[in-house]
Symmetry: C2
Subunit: 389 residues, 2 copies
Amino acid sequence: MSLLDHVFWSSGISREALATGASVSKSRANAAVAGLLEQGVLEATGEQVSTGGRRAETLRLSRSIGVLLGVAMGATGLEVGVLAPGLELLAHHSEPADVRDGPALVLSRVRTLMRELLKQCGAKARDVIGIGIGVPGPVDFGSGQLVNPPLMPEWNAYSIRDDLRSEYSAPVFVDNDVNVMALGELWRMQRGLQNFLVIKVGTGIGCGIVCHGQVYRGATGSAGDVGHICVDPAGPRCHCGNLGCVETMAAGPAIARAATEAAQAGQSVLLAQMLRERGVLKLNDVAQASRAGDVAANAIVQRSGALIGQMLASVVNFYNPSHVFIGGSFQRIGPLFLAAVRQSIYQRSLALSTRHIEIQYTPLGERAGLIGAGVLAMQESLELREGMR
Amino acid sequence: MSLLDHVFWSSGISREALATGASVSKSRANAAVAGLLEQGVLEATGEQVSTGGRRAETLRLSRSIGVLLGVAMGATGLEVGVLAPGLELLAHHSEPADVRDGPALVLSRVRTLMRELLKQCGAKARDVIGIGIGVPGPVDFGSGQLVNPPLMPEWNAYSIRDDLRSEYSAPVFVDNDVNVMALGELWRMQRGLQNFLVIKVGTGIGCGIVCHGQVYRGATGSAGDVGHICVDPAGPRCHCGNLGCVETMAAGPAIARAATEAAQAGQSVLLAQMLRERGVLKLNDVAQASRAGDVAANAIVQRSGALIGQMLASVVNFYNPSHVFIGGSFQRIGPLFLAAVRQSIYQRSLALSTRHIEIQYTPLGERAGLIGAGVLAMQESLELREGMR
């Protein structure tokens, strides 16, 4: 890793810690830092708590080098943000969106939002140093293209890069949405955890894998495609063609369908009322009813958590991660869903795998996708810069 | 990696390739090689096919530095070997053994075999430069101790290192048996594959994971414990306490039990005859009957392959490996078992994960454990040497 990588991944570091981390002599680090400060790539801010008598400054990537654009695309929602090189969110916007509308329509909206948000920050297209995009499907990371995405078939082999090239000269990096979330969590913890998983549960179910401190994408870029792991060989048929996939039995649409059936069968006054008022029930309605203590909603949430936990038990037995972070819109349901997932994992996994495992919602919360997209943009831009030197 | 690591992992390399691989200048590599040749650590053998007019030698670790001891311990068998630093097998012996006899008895036999095999090679205890041991249970790699091994409870926290220290001053490295097999395959391919799995199927079922070119052991050393992944929530109870674990339904004892039942129920003349002659049926008998075309034995083998393939489909969806290598005593069954595993994986896994996946028996075959133990001994000894410099 270069000195700049170390500064970026530490989110604020002293000269001394930088020299140690990068395994170079203090004098060599000082000389390099002086150059980078003069070029305006680094800035020295505030004072770190000093361990000796001398004043210790914190080095950061300078805001003057430009801004990052991050995009977190979900199956049913879109989030765009402008971030500083140190990943402070300068402006952002989220709205419902349907990826099945196809790349032309969705990316046109993305470009409009990018322009508006940059304007809000007083920045221009030429100030953008990198663009990171998370998409809800398998990505060939080298080309940045989606490969047979089940939720968004129109995007197959579409070049998001070319689409954005007309407005931005900055490099564009595309990855699977939950890989991007995993990268965000890795950055938040300054690589303090080496082997963990991030599960995104929303319209679909995906998993980001961190192995030996790096995001693991698999032999052909589809690692973490856990939504089609079978949890019931006699279960309903999934859109992938198989029976009993966890996604088709436990993700957003399954929960909404079960809630609609419960409302129509007279099992819940609250859900029936919501269905009358809104015409259709969505995940957010079930989450709201569950948090209000509705018995039918709670049963639906617990069944979903148990099935997802059953899938995760297999994954935990195989991978033995230190942490499983659960993100995506299911976070909104709250503690009940998490408790059901935990119970199911502990019940099925071997004692050794689960003895020290932590299962919790993603600490970055609903911002995990956007922060992760910013990390992707900055990390890959630094690597590109390093490669060109 | 040091120069010696490069030589070891290449199993024969030119000076030029060594300089390139280790990212040092040719003059620096030449000077270091000259020193190592003089010390007798390296030897220059034969001639490589030269790309230019000059003679190109192949550098190898010198046989004069000593020998390695490798031990591959299975639940029901034991294999000990003496290997040259370049991993040529100089002498080896395998015999049935029951790990449940406990560490005192089993390791006493291991020490006897080590002495006899060293003698066969004209080597002494002080010539041993490293000892590698694969054991059929979860290992804390740092301490080299087994942690709650389900198949060999008497070994929990027993120090195999201390046991061997009375006879050998060489360092002792212990790892899970299938991690050791994975390390062996990684070495055989000179790290040419970065992300693959080795599945060992015998008395139990375990998985070795290679991630980013390194063996991945998990957060607490139990990664790859796939034997207790559930393949049938309504299946029989496993010794681990859960229902429908793939190990309890498809591994060696399950196959032997099913064959005994088939023989007793008059479903197979051949199996009934084997049972009469031998008193009990074992995996090898079922393998032999299956290869002879016995219909009942084939049905048992296919059912086992289908269940193991069902478990592997989940693992492949999650991990997206380039290759799955199947090792252990089930290799002896031959093509029918492999075909059943493949069919089951292809049927359940997503197109993207399985598009380029290769599923085959381990190329190192029944020697995978012993070669892997040699790789473990040499790799870790080199690392130890590097750390002490």
